[in-house]
Symmetry: C3
Subunit: 204 residues, 3 copies
């Protein structure tokens, strides 16, 4: 399989995980099927925000119908089988970590392509990866998971990965190997953090 | 009157209804005049979001001063006469249904014009119609009406209307009759749903 | 110092104040360091929104790294020294008033430059100045300060200043003196309002 196809499939799996967590939250909040679909579609929020910021409109999420169909499918499946999917908790977390790693790297690369500086590209890359989750929580009137003291680190692995990619690409010619390595680093960091229960520091 | 003038007047009436419901919510929340104006202006939120997504900037809402003036006027009138306007509840609901139908159809058509696919155009059409209401509720720290199990269906009529328009326009040459019929269908569906108390399903 | 340099330094001081108030709110909400950084970066929200609306992408906040670095620095300093910074309350309020005045005027001028009408430019100017604060409050799940009956007027001085600038520039050729005077007027109005405890009216 060519590298683009692999990236594309991984991207869709990441969206599937983000969308499933949105749909599950909607069900926990007691929302109707519209709320379930909308919170599933927030999976695309980070990418849409990135594309709107760099002026790449219409956003990628509106160019390929699969990007919108996968959250719709996740909403329907979660609607009927949420007890079973809740029991798949670990699998959802692993796919979600995959989405985190992939979106961080592709978001940072897309921002560099749009001629953003190193720091700006890294911040937009992290925003791509975590923006959908924040939108999901705001729409559901929950405190963003991302900010909570008692949740396992999520943005920090993404931030490290984004900085690695942005710095490396700004001092050397682009190489897919580095992008893949950085994505794996983010995923591994997030999974180890989940396993060991690492938290981000908070102010005294 | 030419068709464009009729559409324009109906659009302004729709904004008036959306803006009035924003202003009334602000008063129920005990906000000051700034909150009343801001929540009234969220009437334009769905259209601004649509235009930003398809790259049609500045958005239509910032090209014609009347789009901004009508929510301002709705805020002022609601500020002074909210008890009377609350008693006009049914009229506001009818105008709001009109706005829902019109924004669904014009949003879907504008998205198709921007070369979006059928599904993407339908989803952006629905977003145009319901986006302002979600923004209004988020700013007022309310659970979005759109997601609540005990509210009458709102997004579903819009979704059906948007799909009809998007599919029809993609298989045949555009005809204003179909657009008008689809808008009437959304309005009628919403009004019958209100009358009969139809709800969207929620997960067990 | 040339006028542009003065404007630039004042702009950075305004961002510093907005970012500090975001970081302090995150600490009061008990968020971790990620929440502190994100709420500090909301300082840029109004400007990003303005640039996305007028199609000036990527937004100014993503062109100059200092715009992103200052909120990062504010987050770090507030993380360690928030008790001391809380005691600097008045200084933060004064800088914040400075940011309010400056962003109102530069936002309105940038909107006029993008060929927006008088009213539209004034509304976008106010949005530039107050948008970041509303985003900050929404992300922190607080009722927007801007809408509260018991907070001192904030948007009203900005609205007056924006209207003065927009009207004056549309009837006469641009003059920096007027822009500076309007910014000072907003700052002075806000500071006097704080001192005298002025509130915006609310509906009966």
């Amino acid at each position: 399989m060519p590298a683009d196809t692999v990236t594309y499939i991984l991207e869709l799996l990441g969206i599937l995980a983000f969308a499933t967590s949105g749909a599950l939250l909607a069900i926990r909040c007691g929302f109707d099927v519209v709320g379930i679909v909308v919170l599933a579609e927030t999976a695309l929020g980070g990418g849409v925000l990135r594309d709107v910021v760099i002026g790449a409109t219409p956003p990628a999420a509106f160019r390929d119908p699969l990007y919108l169909v996968i959250p719709l499918a996740a909403a329907v499946v979660t609607f009927f089988f949420h007890p079973q999917i809740t029991r798949l908790g670990t699998a959802v977390l692993v796919f979600d970590a995959g989405g985190l790693g992939l979106y961080t790297v592709t978001g940072t690369l897309k921002a560099l392509d749009a001629d953003l500086g190193v720091l700006q590209a890294a911040i937009l890359g992290v925003t791509t990866a975590v923006g959908g989750g924040v939108l999901r929580d705001v729409l559901a009137r929950q405190t963003p998971e991302l900010f909570k003291v008692d949740t396992v680190i999520y943005a920090s692995p993404a931030a490290l990965g984004a900085i690695i990619v942005a710095v490396a690409y700004s001092i050397a010619s682009p190489t897919p190997v580095l992008a893949v390595a950085a994505a794996f680093f983010v995923v591994a960091f997030r999974l180890v953090a989940l396993w060991r229960g690492w938290h981000a520091p908070s102010a005294r």
